[in-house]
């Protein structure tokens, strides 16, 4: 494709491609803006820009990821997503076939999530000024009454749950990007979590914190929560689910799964008394089948995340800026 004024035919081509695959009544109105009814209650809104290499990876691609990312941001506030918008920045020369693959994947993710893409925009930049394609999505959702989920709501005594095994997405991306071959292909866990969240909230409306541990992984997300809430967190290493192949890959690569990104997992902090019920609800949902209680919120003036390791040891799980650097002298 070409950029600038001369690409009118191309622009129409792209427009057509989007409309064909993302088709829905609101998008079909043909406005530059989407017009739709809102249900009663508070609205939730979020936006997320997606830049990823490689664009296609085992278990997903930038298209599905850009849908899941924003839906999960809404879900982590407790919101039920209503609709999405998408903005594309394409690099001149990006293969149309790849673009179509991405749009089809996006449409499928949106359809499966039950959330339409109601408006969009595309710009093409000069060759060398982009990295194939960047996608920004925004979403709007509605917050059920009585829900008050916040990263600063963790309190000592509460339980820390995770919806499944950690580290899959980051390892999947890395192996694809660096062409690493493991015995079995590791798939990204990219998924939309609002369905799971809706069932969790229905069972326990008083959930304190929800957070999707994306970039920086479980460790970073928990440190952010500990800091925002002014508490400490104690994790039990043996209880943190890590898939054996992900674990083996991390061991070989020298990565700590606690710091590896996820795109289809959530951390839930709730009253200890609610944790069994929540785990039951989570495990009954396909996206929470391996949900586990991994630790507890504690009183700690230094707001540290600490992990009890096997045989009585304990490790500081600190907040890293940038990538992990060896600290051993």
């Amino acid at each position: 494709m070409t950029h600038g004024g001369g690409g009118r035919a191309m622009a129409e081509l792209i427009e057509g491609l989007f409309h064909r695959h993302l088709k829905n009544p609101i998008l079909d109105q043909g406005h530059d803006a989407a017009v739709f009814d809102v249900p009663p209650g508070r609205l939730v809104m979020s936006t997320d820009a997606h830049v990823i290499s490689p664009l296609f990876f085992p278990g997903g691609d930038i298209g599905s990821l850009s849908v899941h990312g924003t839906l999960n941001d809404i879900a982590m506030a407790g919101g039920r997503p209503l609709s999405l918008t998408a903005g594309f920045i394409l690099e001149e020369g990006f293969p149309l076939a790849d673009l179509e693959r991405i749009v089809i994947s996006m449409a499928r993710a949106a359809r499966e999530a039950g959330v339409p893409v109601v408006s969009g925009d595309t710009k093409v930049v000069e060759k060398g000024k982009g990295d194939g394609v960047f996608i920004t999505t925004a979403g709007v959702g509605v917050l059920p009454d009585g829900v008050s989920i916040s990263p600063s709501a963790a309190r000592p005594g509460q339980a820390v749950l995770v919806s499944g095994s950690i580290g899959d997405h980051g390892v999947a991306i890395l192996s694809k990007r660096e062409n690493l071959e493991f015995e079995t292909e590791i798939l990204s866990d990219s998924a939309a979590l609002h369905g799971l969240v809706a069932e969790m909230i229905a069972a326990v409306p008083g959930i304190a914190v929800l957070r999707d541990p994306t970039r920086g992984g479980l460790a970073t997300a928990l440190n952010e929560i500990a800091h925002a809430s002014g508490v400490g967190v104690v994790l039990e290493e043996d209880d943190i689910p890590v898939a054996p192949d992900v674990d083996a890959a991390c061991e070989l690569l020298g990565l700590d799964p606690l710091y590896v990104a996820n795109e289809g997992k959530l951390i839930c902090i709730c009253e200890a008394a609610d944790s069994d019920l929540l785990l039951k609800v989570m495990r009954a949902h396909p996206l929470g089948a391996r949900a586990a209680r991994i630790g507890a919120v504690v009183d700690d003036a230094d707001h540290m995340v600490v992990m009890r390791t096997g045989f009585g040891g304990s490790r500081v799980v600190d907040w890293l800026s940038g990538e992990q650097l060896p600290r051993i002298c």
Binding site: L253, G254, M307, G312, G313, R327
Partner: protein, 760 residues
């Protein structure tokens, strides 16, 4: 110093010489006013420095005339109470039981016969029981034991050895000893007799020692030692021994006169001694040619060992990487599955103090771990440190210590340990706050390592914000160099510089890369990097430190390129590598995937060890591979010649292509592992000596050695000898560890110099 019996010593001396006046502690030290005939005063002065009590140290005497003399001149000599601000004189280290107290506990007619908590002004607990200042009984964990009338008489009599001995105690008023089984039930009968009987039967016991819980087992019982290793999950790391007396040690190790003195000193460290004579249990120090041994150093240890025929293993009472236990309740909870019983008492341990570890090399003393018996004794810095700011230096990440620079006194904390362990980190913060309190120390500036992710760096940033003061970041190996100079009385200001050969594991470099094998030149205010080892990838980052095979692959690939494995064809080593996921490792290095470049010296040792199949897949403790390599090499040093090391210049880079070529040729030729290990050590020594000359070093120049690799005696002794032969002035640092345990001292003096220079 407080609590070392210096004032009563002055008092007795004055009375003997018929001198009148008084003695008191003030903020700066001891102040004496003395009146008498000139000859008596002169004698008094000589004897003050010549024969101070065992724990006292006279740094300096300032003399001033009292003009005019007071009227009337005092007619007696008195000890006055401490003045306010007796702070700078600080806290003394804990000291091993003195001969007089040992005689007391062995004397059936003494009221302290068999009493496990006997002490006096010349010995006993100090830092380990201190909660806050001023140092008196109420400030220690003896506060809950009111003195009985007999003890009080001794405490108040300047002529008594126990005058003002704060922890003074006897069976009537002091701490109590008991034995309890793993289930918490107290055993009937004499607790020491029960403990001895259990040890003889191969039992594993927790003993509440001076600075923490220890674990004891019969050192001659291989089955019991193996059980201990299994339960403690400590497969390989050498275990320390404790012996009743020197004779008992001589049965198993060779001990020189100087080593005997070190063992018997008030600090009573663990000393690494050459094995000699019949072996004790084989799994005490597998693969090592040395044993770590200390003498009984508290009355409790003396009483326990008196009845045992052999030395006992005396290792730290902890699980995994946790710090050793100090509290009864926690010890019961955490050690119950590990030991068969507890020898307990009710005197609280306030400050955890591990046993210190030293070694006497041909080139001098090597302090390997500095804690009990040494901390918190201060080191005297050069006179111009009078103008230094108060610096709090935070240390490193492993083997952590911190340091307070307080004018000419540098106070280095005891070894605290590896901060990644959450309990150790909590202990580090607690101990740091205690020291700030003990020394009433309010820093002007905080010094941290350049590594942004060291927990000590992050905590230092927090403290700087809390105190509203500046933070200075100090390059890791510059701090190593400066620590050596500080211990030599190097001036704060001035242009002087020394060469530093730093052989280290990994440290944050100024270029964002990881450094470790460095030739530096500098002083406190700055440094130049004149040379370094060839940077080599660390495939997997920190994992590469645990897995020597990764470093072998990385070194060979750096030396020979991607086809490096072809050179190993036919060697057992090739087969061992094939077992690993080499495709992945090569890919990681090719793509720089979590494979940061490092000029580490420690990883070179790991690589060479792996080439000989030592700790090939994994080492279970830091330095394991290098220590085994050193032990292998020692018998062959005299008859071997070193491998060649090559150089690339500007900037100087020691590269190891030739070394690996020769080493692989030796492997193909079937040379003995010990010979290869010796050739490697000697080659490195030769290469470094050559590298120093190529860096501009000339006869007469000062050189210091630092970094964890200098715990290797072959390298330290060999390089010292070689450089002295070349005319260099080698300054050996005996008082602080060459590893990161000494880092904080270097950070502190560098920050002081930079602060004074106003450069930041």
């Amino acid at each position: 110093m407080q609590g070392v019996g210096f004032r009563p010593f002055v008092w007795r001396l004055a009375r003997e010489l018929e001198i009148t006046g008084h003695v008191l502690n003030d903020g700066a030290g001891v102040r004496i006013e003395a009146f008498g005939p000139v000859e008596a005063l002169e004698k008094f002065l000589v004897r003050l420095t010549a024969e101070p009590p065992p724990l006292a140290r006279v740094d300096r005497i300032d003399i001033a005339d009292t003009d005019p003399a007071p009227v009337p001149v005092p007619d007696s000599f008195q000890i006055l109470g401490s003045g306010e601000g007796a702070v700078a004189t600080g806290v003394v280290p804990d000291a091993a039981t003195c001969p007089a107290c040992l005689a007391d506990i062995g004397n059936p007619s003494d009221r302290r016969h068999g009493y496990a908590f006997t002490n006096c002004t010349h010995c006993g607990p100090r830092l380990s029981i201190l909660r806050h200042i001023p140092y008196d009984r109420a400030s220690t964990s003896m506060s809950g034991f009111p003195m009985c009338p007999s003890c009080r008489v001794e405490y108040e009599d300047p002529d008594d050895r126990r005058f003002h001995a704060q922890p003074v105690a006897c069976p009537d008023c002091g701490p109590r000893l008991w034995f309890e089984d793993a289930d918490g039930r107290e055993a009937q009968g004499d607790p020491l007799a029960v403990a001895v009987q259990r040890l003889r039967a191969g039992g594993i016991l927790a003993v509440k020692g001076l600075g923490g819980f220890q674990i004891a087992v019969d050192a001659g019982n291989e089955t019991a030692v193996r059980t201990l290793r299994h339960r403690k999950r400590r497969p390989d790391k050498p275990l320390a021994l404790m012996a009743r007396d020197l004779d008992q040690i001589l049965g198993y190790c060779s001990v020189s006169e100087r080593e005997a003195d070190m063992l018997a000193s008030a600090a009573a460290p663990i000393l690494l001694l050459q094995k000699a004579g019949p072996a004790l249990a084989e799994s005490i120090a597998p693969g090592q040619d040395r044993l770590g041994v200390m003498l009984a150093n508290t009355p409790l240890h003396h009483l326990l060992l008196a009845e045992l025929e052999r030395p006992i293993v005396m290792t730290s009472g902890n699980l995994s990487d946790n710090p050793q236990e100090t509290e009864n309740a926690a010890a019961r909870q955490h050690l119950a599955g590990l030991v068969d019983g507890f020898l307990m008492h009710d005197r609280d341990i306030v400050n955890r103090l591990d046993d210190s570890v030293l070694r006497l090399d041909r080139s001098g003393v090597s302090m390997l771990r500095r804690a009990r018996g040494y901390a918190p004794a201060s080191v005297r810095l050069a006179p111009d440190f009078d103008q230094a700011p108060r610096v709090l230096a935070m240390g490193g990440e492993l083997k952590s210590t911190f340091c307070l620079i307080n004018g000419r006194d540098a106070v280095l904390s005891q070894h605290i340990g590896d901060l990644e362990n959450a309990q150790t980190f909590a202990d580090y913060k607690k101990t740091l706050r205690l020291y700030l309190d003990l020394y009433r120390f309010r820093p002007d500036v905080i010094a941290v390592d350049g590594h942004p992710q060291y927990l000590s760096t992050v905590y230092g940033e927090q403290l700087a914000a809390e105190f509203g003061i500046d933070l200075l970041r100090v390059q890791h190996h510059h701090a190593h160099l400066a620590a050596c100079l500080a211990g030599q009385g190097w001036p704060l200001t001035g242009e002087g510089s020394a060469y530093g050969i730093i052989l280290d594991g990994l440290g944050w470099g100024e270029d964002g890369k990881i450094w470790g094998g460095e030739i530096l030149k500098g002083g406190f205010a700055g440094f130049q990097r004149l040379g370094h080892f060839q940077p080599v990838p660390l495939p997997g980052g920190a994992v590469a430190v645990r897995e020597p095979w990764r470093n072998l692959a990385a070194h060979l690939r750096t030396a020979f390129g991607p086809d490096y494995r072809e050179r190993l064809a036919g060697l057992p080593l090739a087969a061992a590598l094939e077992e690993k996921n080499m495709a992945m490792l090569d890919r990681m290095m090719e793509r720089s995937l979590n494979s940061p470049l490092s000029s580490s010296a420690g990883r070179l040792f790991d690589a060479v060890a792996a080439a000989l199949g030592i700790s090939f897949g994994r080492q279970s403790f830091e330095g394991q591979a290098a220590m085994a390599l050193e032990s292998l090499a020692r018998p062959f040093l005299k008859e071997e010649r070193g491998y060649a090391v090559d150089f690339k210049s500007s900037p100087l880079c020691l590269s190891f292509v030739a070394l690996w070529q020769q080493l692989i040729a030796d492997l193909h030729a079937g040379a003995a592992d010990g010979r290869i290990a010796a050739r490697f050590h000697l080659g490195l020594i030769g290469g470094l000596a050559d590298g120093l000359s190529r860096s501009g070093g000339r006869p007469g120049d000062a050189v210091v050695f630092s970094g964890g690799v200098f715990q290797n005696a072959i390298v330290k002794d060999g390089l010292t000898g070689r450089l002295k032969d070349m005319g260099f002035r080698v300054l050996n640092q005996e008082n602080f560890p060459a590893n990161d345990g000494g880092l904080a001292l270097g950070q502190g003096v560098i920050a002081a110099a930079r602060y004074v220079a106003g450069g930041d």
